[in-house]
């Protein structure tokens, strides 16, 4: 019985259980004066959960453990020379066996008989079914695959029986539990709560997944490049490993990338914070509902535009504009109309990213400013302060911690942004303090090292993972700090 069919059967049993339990309880409720703790629906649900949940758990455990058990049994049946001596070889052999066995399930009885003759007979048959078998497959692997399928079949048979039995037994137990004082509702709600907890732990799982998916490659990177050189190196120059060259020299200094990241983020914040903050203040404190209802969504559109469009905007409009502007300016002051702002520069990327971040700042701050209690405003106005004085001296200071938290969140966005920087600031990893020159960021290098033509198992590519983890830790730090700040802010009013 396939897993799908099995799950369907269990679910059907669950539905049946639900209907039975529910109608039984509502029947009992009418004709007796017993007061039931829970509504019939809950009793039905209780029954259904009792039927389905344990059965599915059994199924999951079985499915996972049977894989391991059967794999081991088959593995032990293969001779050492076929299996290979290293762990990697073993894995490869087992991989071939399992793809043969998967292929065998597609064959009919006649073909199976033929395939049993060995790999040379099996290969074309499997190829006809679209199953590719690695070139170094051998006869014993076919035998192993047959054994594998046999075990698999037995396991499937028993699995069906055990799972259905589990459903029936647990369902039956729930049936005996039907009664006035059974807290079916509490139990059902307990299960729902469990599901809610499960959902909220997905965030944690994602984080673990992210770390796990990068940690191995990072380790390999650090095996060839000392961490000290990576974290404190001031030159980023992961040279192209020449074809055939064994040694892959290059310098992997993180600092120029980090500096570029922070610099561009800083410029972006310098653009976004004043504009966003003033916009938020104006909307929260001055604007009428009409202006607010127009301006707020319009500004938020800026946040919804894909970053690739911003990158495009930077290359096509902002970069040339800044360059020409600078040429004009230097023309006026020095008479030499050469531009001092390069089309691709920290300034361009920062400015465009700043535009993108305006709505983040304005929306978050707007919320925080409106959250400042009215009493603060009244208190200040009542003393004869003007509105702007009230805002500058009372509201903003009061909202400051919250705003700082919001800005930190915005900053972590700026740090993580990729597409705009690729297009607007370039990929040159340099250490400079001149904002009119190009710099680059960590994210850009992650993308370019991963999508380049470099050798895939060289440090040049692996460094992307080290960069990824570094960035992850960086934003994590920012967020922990932001949470801490926001907490402190909340305490003030509570």
């Amino acid at each position: 019985m396939s897993i799908f069919l099995l799950v369907t059967i269990v679910c059907v049993l669950g539905v049946v259980g639900y209907v039975l339990a529910r109608s039984r309880v509502s029947g009992l409720e009418t004709d007796s004066s017993v007061s039931y703790h829970s509504r019939p629906g809950y009793h039905g649900m209780h029954m259904a959960i009792a039927t389905v949940l344990p059965a599915l758990l059994v199924l999951a455990v079985w499915a996972i453990s049977s894989q391991v058990v059967i794999g081991n049994v088959v593995k032990s049946s293969i001779s050492q020379e076929v299996l290979g001596d290293s762990a990697a070889r073993e894995g490869l052999t087992m991989g071939i066996v399992s793809s043969i066995s998967r292929g065998l399930t597609l064959l009919n009885a006649e073909e199976l008989k033929q395939a049993a003759n060995g790999i040379d007979a099996a290969r074309p048959l499997l190829a006809a079914k679209g199953v590719a078998i690695a070139t170094d497959a051998s006869d014993p692997m076919v035998t192993a695959a047959f054994r594998y399928n046999g075990l698999e079949q037995t396991s499937t048979f028993w699995r069906s029986i055990v799972v259905i039995l589990a459903a029936l037994v647990c369902g039956g137990w729930a049936w005996t539990q039907l009664g006035a004082r059974v807290k079916a509702r509490n139990r059902v709600e307990g299960v729902v709560l469990g599901l809610l907890i499960l959902a909220s732990s997905i965030a944690i799982l994602t984080t673990i997944g992210i770390v796990l998916s990068m940690i191995r490659e990072t380790g390999r990177f650090f095996a060839s490049v000392p961490p000290l050189e990576f974290f404190f190196g001031t030159v980023w120059d992961p040279r192209f490993a020449a074809a055939g060259a064994t040694e892959s020299a290059g310098q992997f200094g993180l600092l120029p990338l980090l500096a570029g990241t922070l610099y561009i983020a800083l410029v972006a914040m310098l653009v976004a914070v004043p504009i966003g903050l003033f916009a938020a203040v104006y909307m929260a404190e001055y604007a009428g509902p009409k202006l607010r209802s127009v301006a707020k969504p319009l500004l938020e559109v800026l946040a919804g535009i894909p970053t690739i469009v911003y990158g495009f905007f930077a290359v096509v409009t902002v970069g040339p504009f800044l360059r020409d502007l600078s040429a004009q300016i230097s023309g006026i002051f020095t008479g030499d109309a050469s531009s001092f702002i390069q089309a691709q520069s920290v300034l361009t990327a920062g400015a465009v990213m700043g535009i993108m971040l305006i709505p983040f700042v304005s929306s978050l701050s707007d919320d925080i400013i409106t959250a400042v209690p009215r009493a603060m405003r009244d208190g200040s106005l009542g003393l004869g302060a003007t509105r702007s004085e009230t805002i500058k001296r009372v509201i903003l200071p009061a909202a400051l911690p919250g705003i700082v938290g919001a800005l930190l969140l915005t900053a972590s966005r700026a740090i993580g942004e990729t597409m705009i920087v690729v297009l607007a600031a370039g990929v040159a990893a340099r250490l400079t303090i001149n904002p009119f020159e190009p710099m680059t960021t960590v994210t850009v290098k992650i993308v370019s090292q991963l999508t380049g033509d470099l050798e895939f198992n060289s440090p040049q590519t692996l460094v992307a993972f080290a960069l990824g983890i570094t960035l992850f830790v960086l934003t994590l730090g920012l967020n922990i700090y932001a949470l801490y700040v926001v907490r402190k802010y909340r305490e003030q009013y509570e």
Binding site: R377, D378, G384
Partner: protein, 271 residues
């Protein structure tokens, strides 16, 4: 109120002058929130250097009237005021009048203590600073000390002037708010249920303070506690459903009101 009742109660008010001086006058004051009228033709005079209590059941418009005295109503978009309100004979709703200046002259203390989330010192010095009444550190220290002393808070907080004002107890916070209000030397202080969020002991302190402040300031206080009104005020005005029912000397209102609604209210028949 009419002349006669004023004259009759003159002696009861221990004002130094023979003639009671009118600090603020409300004439035919109507207040609207959007289409809804909250006050109907209120005519009420506020005497100088006296405490005037506004009483009445919930929603009768006490706060509304109070807030119209220093145009705090302006901050509510939908709110509209008609009629005349004068301060020292000047119409405060005259476009030529500056509301900032007005509010510096007519200060306000709110129901819930609302110190700014700053230090005690900064709280007090805030008003004088924005109005440019203090020029240097010495000025500021002086104004802070004077105001806190007046508000009866100085001894309790003098060692922690630079700690946050939000860290004080409720009653202390409210006295801090009063100190903050008197720091700008207003002529009138409006108080909207200043004690309703305080415990009995704190309430007593604040009431005592009000009693002392009366000598230098004109005070208007809203309260829902008739006992409090009786304790602290010289004049009482009773509102009901947006109408000024009766106004007069506190003693008279509480012992021998003219209006049956006032009678009912003070005897607890409603409210």
């Amino acid at each position: 109120m009419n002349m006669m009742s004023d004259a009759a109660t003159e002696k009861a008010v221990n004002a130094p002058a023979d003639e009671p001086v009118i600090k603020m006058r409300g004439k035919d004051v109507c207040v609207f929130y959007g289409p809804k009228q909250a006050l109907f033709d209120v005519n009420l005079n506020i005497r100088e250097n006296a405490v005037t209590a506004l009483i009445g059941p919930s929603g009768c418009g006490k706060s509304t009237f109070l807030r119209s005295l220093n145009r705090m109503n302006d901050t509510i978009d939908t709110c509209r005021v008609t009629g005349d309100i004068t301060l020292d004979g000047e119409d405060i709703y005259d476009p030529a009048i500056d509301v900032v200046e007005l509010r510096a002259r007519v200060g306000m203390v709110f129901q819930k203590p609302n110190p700014f989330p700053k230090s005690i010192y900064e709280n007090v010095v805030y008003g004088p600073r924005i109005h440019g009444l203090v020029r240097n550190k010495a000025d500021m220290d002086e104004v802070v000390e004077k105001s806190l002393v007046r508000a009866g808070l100085f001894n309790e907080v003098k060692d922690r002037l630079h700690e946050p004002g939000t860290g004080l107890s409720g009653g202390q916070q409210q006295r801090l708010c009063i100190a903050r209000a008197i720091a700008v030397s207003p002529e009138v202080i409006l108080m909207d249920e200043p004690c309703s969020a305080l415990d009995p002991i704190a309430t007593a302190t604040v009431e005592e303070l009000i009693h002392e402040l009366r000598e230098n300031y004109t005070i208007v206080i809203v309260t829902h506690s008739m006992q409090q009104a009786a304790r602290v005020s010289q004049r009482t005005a009773m509102f009901h459903l947006g109408v000024l029912v009766e106004e007069g000397d506190t003693d008279k209102i509480f012992t021998n009101p003219d209006d049956p609604r006032t009678q009912d209210y003070i005897t607890g028949r409603f409210g």
